[in-house]
Symmetry: D3
Subunit: 127 residues, 6 copies
């Protein structure tokens, strides 16, 4: 795909999600390629590329939404990596997840924190 | 109540939620006063008072969590007011809610935006 | 309807939900009568009539599930009345709702407590 | 807006949601106009315009998703009207909502059925 | 069990879920046999056996509800198989899941699509 | 930590969750130690230590909330063990989970029952 929204979206995806996001789009190619197209064009080309909030603020929102949803651990893995990619510290990420406790309770927050623990360990071993 | 966590929490509550939060605690006094105590002591005295994220960042998280939960329009009303109180602009609030679309879909985001619309109108009329 | 499961269910419905439950079944008659039939036969005839837990324990489960779901305030109204009908005290009902805070957060618990407040006021005025 | 995706989306929106959808987009103009743009371009221009499922099948999916989400009664109102617009009968709509009982329980199904009841009454009075 | 609702339900279960559903009922026998009985009698004997929607339409509803709920991947596996059993194509199944994006966001849809991918691969290897 | 709420909470945690809870707090020490502190102080020191409901009633509420939430299987594992610890029978636990079917549907109840099956098997092998 090479239209304008896709190109803008792909640029955002690489800047935010990096390889994690690229792998998700790749894994969709043989099952639902248009779904990957919409992730790139809409989630990244339309939403992430917007002004008004910077990428660190957007990652706080994404992480909070995924933590609160529950059952989205694969996406939390990609987006906790993304949060580190855009410059949030591991401490800020943990704080954001913990801040969800009064709003969604401890179980979903615990499950998100354990994903963060795994992400931080994976990134440490890659260095 | 005058213990240290309650006092710290009440100070945070007034700084963040202001009158909206005070009304919630007041409305609990004849039905579940300890619940109000826990909101003040835990949500505000323990969580909101933490370092690591500033109040504007914490309001982005809260608004995202409430938008994603759905069915929490009363709390969204309090916390959109709170977001303005701590210095987020109405534009930043709308951007945060809109950023939730790829993660929780349009319906919950629409319902949150309509709460924001109502809050902004109420605050305009109060001026 | 007069089959055995319906009769057993109707007896449970009247014992637990009382008039509140009767009104729900009635309100379904012109839009989805079979839905009302399933509520009576399955929810009450099969599930509520089971041994193993008594009706007070079953109401604790129902209230917890409805509180956690969110957005089920009409059903919470019926079932908080039902909890009082089967002998739980208003204090036990509030305690059960509050016990959900660590598991589903404050917003859903607050919304459930406000339904309880309304139910207790309505029942007081009926006396 | 007059780009190709918006035009295709607006055509789908009018065919499916009709006036109900137009009102939603209109109500967003002073608070989050881009959100309305995304509903038209993405929800309708990208998703609803796809081949593979016809509009009646798509409305079954939408109604099921909204019923299961809970707390999306405003959107259910628009989409139950839409279901009638694209040729589903009121009976098929009620059957779809009822089919959700084993998957999301009675409360969310009851709340959706009561929205349907209201929609059918409104449409009867308009004739 | 051999009562009328159970027999009707078992027939529906075999027609829709096939072996996948049989395995679920079997796995419940030593832990909660009555739960299996209710799945057969109520979900299949009462709901699936209803007129008004055909089995392909009912599978669209079930798949949409399970996708939107999140965290129900085991049940999605059974019901995506069931969708193929009753004559929906793999393309129609993917379209139904994708149609949920505007209503529940990308994460839950991605998780459902990956279950579909696995189901299609398993069925290919069985041929 | 040795303040009064923490000590009271730790005592409750050991009485209710036992080793399962201790392992959760331990696993948080290197990633989010304050989160573990809040679980002990607030969930157990404030909520579980309350009068009004006994520990068996509280476990019925917790299990119902976790079943209804979905996606909280790790926490259900800890709390089904806890339910046995405080004196609920395995039959009462299964009844409570099954009682959630009319309120949250079969999928979440099935997923909770399979966690119970695993817990009961683990405890049998430990004897």
């Amino acid at each position: 795909m090479s239209n304008e929204r896709y190109l803008r979206g792909w640029e955002q995806l690489m800047q935010v999600d990096g390889e994690g996001g690229e792998r998700v789009i790749e894994s969709l190619k043989d099952i639902a390629p248009d779904l990957g197209k919409y992730v790139v064009e809409f989630a990244f080309g339309d939403i992430y590329a917007r002004k008004g909030l910077d990428l660190k603020q957007r990652q706080l929102v994404t992480i909070s939404a995924l933590t609160t949803q529950g059952g989205c651990e694969p996406q939390l893995n990609v987006h906790i990596n993304a949060a580190l990619n855009v410059g949030l510290s591991s401490n800020e990420i943990i704080e954001a997840i913990m801040h969800c406790v009064p709003y969604t309770g401890f179980p979903r927050v615990l499950n998100a924190v354990f994903v963060a623990k795994q992400v931080f360990e994976e990134r440490t071993h890659q260095q």
